[in-house]
């Protein structure tokens, strides 16, 4: 399979870091998909005594503060965060792409209005915006997904617009206009395919950040509600037991960081392999 005229395998093995990143992300995604079939106990089931240490024959990674199997909760704990982050960021990137490319294409007042809205949103601290939104509209998965989308929309618009601006003066765009293609057709059929690599990388890198935000919200008690298994929530539930049962914090932290590091390695590596560093403002490896 070719991407940008390069074999997919050569892209994902572009560097050791890329390979590690892609492997970590793949493992996490496979775990998130198949966890319900693999977990030894229900993720909310009161399976044993509280705070059993890891290494127990019945509970490989021990139990949490109310006696739930910690391995089962860890395996299930990424599903909600990953789903919320991916759907939210996907929405942000898809809608952001349309606004970014159209702003680059039309320029003028339309571009100014879009970019001033983006600037306004970017001036509000991210975690504050998310926290206020959740407090105002509730902490359901739908609300979290929407707020993640709104949070990452402006950043996506800015980056994708920068790439689109490099395409607008090119001859193929002018040719399309001269052929009489409509503005919508130029945006969707001509410009968008030529910014798609940036969009993909943008999606990957924003997803890793979104996973951290969702976990942070859960840790602060503003995200996913108990008893749902969620890594951020699990850290929060275990924080008072840091002296007695440090695994309650360390293990979910390891899961969060391996996914985020994996996403960052993978997205950086792929961007580097596709030669998109300049568009993303990165210096490359």
């Amino acid at each position: 399979m070719l991407v940008n005229d390069k074999p997919l395998l050569s892209i994902v093995t572009h560097s050791p870091a890329t390979t590690i990143g892609v492997t970590l992300v793949t493992l996490h995604l496979l775990n998130a998909i198949f966890a319900p079939l693999l977990i030894p106990y229900g993720s909310t089931q009161l399976a044993g005594m509280p705070l059993i240490a890891p290494g127990h024959p019945d509970f490989l990674l021990g139990t949490d503060v109310i006696g739930r199997d910690f391995l089962s909760r860890l395996m299930m704990g990424g599903r909600t965060s990953i789903t919320v982050a991916m759907i939210g960021v996907m929405g942000a990137v898809i809608i952001g792409t349309f606004f970014a490319v159209s702003a680059a294409h039309f320029g003028g007042y339309y571009d100014d209005v879009v970019m001033r809205i983006v600037d306004t949103k970017l001036s509000i601290p991210g975690i504050l915006f998310v926290a206020l939104f959740v407090v105002g509209f509730g902490r359901s998965v739908t609300v979290l997904t929407i707020v993640v989308g709104l949070s990452y929309f402006p950043g996506a618009v800015r980056t994708i617009r920068a790439q689109a601006l490099t395409q607008v003066p090119l001859a193929y765009v002018k040719a399309a206009r001269l052929r009489g293609e409509s503005a919508l057709s130029v945006i969707i059929r001509e410009l968008t395919p030529n910014v798609i690599e940036v969009v993909v990388v943008e999606f990957a890198i924003r997803t890793s950040s979104a996973i951290l935000i969702v976990s942070a919200l859960s840790f602060l008690g503003l995200g996913i509600s108990p008893p749902t298994a969620d890594w951020g929530l699990m850290v929060s539930e275990g924080v008072n037991q840091i002296y007695e049962a440090p695994w309650l914090i360390l293990l979910p932290a390891v899961f969060i960081s391996t996914l985020v590091v994996g996403l960052n390695f993978a997205s950086d590596g792929i961007a580097n392999a596709l030669g998109l560093d300049a568009a993303r403002g990165l210096g490359g490896h």
């Binding site: 909310t44 089931q45 009161l46 509280p50 503060v65 109310i66 006696g67 407090v135 902490r139 008690g221 503003l222 509600s225 108990p226 008893p227 539930e237 924080v239 008072n240 037991q241 840091i242 002296y243 007695e244």
Partner: protein, 524 residues
């Protein structure tokens, strides 16, 4: 005419020196040690609290007893009576109280002589009357507004209280933490100067965060022994724990039971468990279409909860108690324990009879962070009811604005959502009163209901009955009605746990957090 003296140990306790006797009866090791040793004057004690009064917003109102940093008004103020660790009423500003009408509607109270306010003024009957005029005013406390008709002077040191309805447990009513005695002033200004007659005076206030008190050298009672007392609010158990470890605090009140093992491992630390504490209750909204309109579903739900499991998992098997679906605490001598604590088969049968043989999914039960362990309580409860085929989603709401929010949807839910509320432990009359008020949030809104009418009639009868044993029979009948009707769900009762350094003497964890007093606390 029924003088308020029950034929039990209260008779012995009311009178001079009775607070010390009560402390001995409470019988804890720290208190016993304190009595055995000679109290030493001086030093400072800093204690952390995990909940605060949301009204403590600015210096303008921070000294008022209704808006102090927390409900421990006893640091600065006195009430007519005090409820001790055994939940017996003890004299404070009042030295004696007596019902002068057989129906318990009129009470005469002797006011202690020699009490001085912090500004040097003598505390008089006029101050008592003025304070209660405020408490029963529009801005006053719920208890006083609902129960007190008027107060008048009945002698140089005697006040006469006219209750709106009989109240055979006047002495406990008079101990309510906000019903403090303040220097006489008009209703609009009384209390804002922070002048009380308690063992400590306000010294420094950092709104929402901390209050420092200094000793009242002219205190009328024993103590205070500490020179300085400081209260610091901590937003989480973790920060309170770290503050204790780093010696920022000498004491943490009402800790998370899950932290007990950690505190027990610390050197020079005492973990003290009170006889009881607050309950967690849930209103079962009753409106057309609500599953809780069906009594069988209410009964099934309470039978399905594995309360013993909550105690074992969340409270280490000891620091909690099983409620009986009334506001009564298990330390009340009139508490009527449940016949059956849990019966999953019966719960299933009731659900089947109600047309839910395959199980039922209830609306989301909301709760807020009133207690540090509350998340775990609700998770264990939600999981345990699954055994009976009940799916009960739960959701934690932010504490800010929660109280208003849970009673907001008046039209649809008859004033209340399916949501948790905290219930403080009080005397039987106050406990059972809550279900006798059809419009009260915590009544469960079970009216109109024939058994509700029967319950209210029994409550009125009990309040007019001076004899303790006769009252107990009535109280038991009232509890049987509530256990059958289940107007509200009482999930678990907690036992308050305080931790403090072993050189802190004279402190004993109190079931009523607001009634703990620092006047006799000292550092060895």
């Amino acid at each position: 005419m029924g003088k308020f003296k029950n034929p039990d140990r209260r008779d012995v306790l009311i009178g001079a020196g009775s607070t010390m006797v009560a402390a001995s009866l409470a019988g804890s090791l720290p208190m016993s040690s304190a009595l055995a040793a000679t109290p030493k004057k001086g030093g400072k004690l800093t204690y952390a609290i995990l909940t605060r009064n949301s009204k403590h917003k600015s210096l303008k109102n921070a000294k008022h007893p209704y808006s102090g940093l927390h409900i421990r008004t006893k640091n600065v103020y006195n009430t007519l009576t005090w409820v001790d660790q055994g939940i017996d009423a003890q004299p404070e500003v009042a030295t004696k109280w007596e019902a002068v009408e057989a129906d318990q509607t009129v009470w005469e109270v002797d006011i202690r002589e020699g009490i001085k306010f912090h500004d040097g003024r003598d505390l008089t009957v006029e101050d008592v009357i003025s304070s209660y005029d405020f408490h029963r005013s529009k801005k006053g406390t719920s208890f006083a507004k609902k129960m007190l008709a008027k107060v008048e002077k009945a002698g140089p040191n005697k006040a006469r209280f006219f209750m709106k309805s009989p109240n055979s447990e006047f002495a406990w009513w008079a101990a309510e933490y906000r019903q403090v005695i303040m220097p006489a002033a008009d209703v609009a200004t009384i209390g804002y100067d922070g002048v009380g007659s308690g063992p400590f005076k306000f010294a420094k206030i950092d709104p929402k965060r901390s209050v420092t008190y200094e000793a009242n050298e002219n205190y009328w009672g024993e103590g205070p022994y500490l020179d300085t007392l400081e209260t610091v609010f901590q937003p989480s158990m973790g920060s309170a724990m770290n503050g204790y470890r780093s010696k920022q605090f000498d004491m943490v009140l009402s800790i998370d039971p899950a932290m007990v093992p950690q505190f027990e491992k610390m050197a020079d630390t005492v973990v003290d468990v009170a006889k009881a504490g607050s309950q967690m209750m849930a209103i079962l909204p009753k409106y057309e279409g609500s599953p809780f309109m069906d009594k069988r579903i209410r009964q099934a739900l309470t039978l399905a909860i594995d309360r013993q499991k909550i105690i074992d998992i969340v409270y280490g098997g000891k620091a909690a108690w099983i409620p009986n679906d009334t506001h009564m605490a298990d330390f009340n001598a009139d508490f009527l324990a449940r016949d059956v604590v849990r019966d999953v088969n019966k719960a299933k049968q009731l659900l089947a009879e109600a047309g839910h043989a395959g199980g039922i999914t209830l609306p989301t039960l909301y709760y807020s962070s009133y207690y540090p362990e509350i998340d775990r309580v609700f998770q264990v409860m939600s999981e345990s009811v699954k055994d009976a085929g009940i799916t009960m989603p739960i959701e934690l709401k932010q504490k800010s604005g929660y109280r208003k929010w849970r009673v907001e949807d008046k039209k649809k839910t008859r004033k209340h959502r399916f949501a948790m509320g905290p219930v403080g432990p009080r005397n039987p009359g106050a406990n059972l009163f809550r279900m006798a008020r059809p419009t009260y949030n915590e009544s469960g809104y079970w009216h109109p209901n024939a058994r509700g009418d029967e319950y209210i009639a029994l409550y009125k009868k009990a309040m007019a009955t001076g004899d303790t044993l006769k009252r107990r029979e009535i109280y038991h009948e009232m509890q049987r009605i509530l256990q059958d009707e289940v107007p509200s769900l009482f999930i678990i009762g907690r036992r308050t746990i305080d931790v403090f350094r072993s050189d802190v003497q004279g402190w004993k964890a109190h079931s009523q957090g607001w009634s703990g007093k620092f006047d006799k606390v000292w550092r060895s």
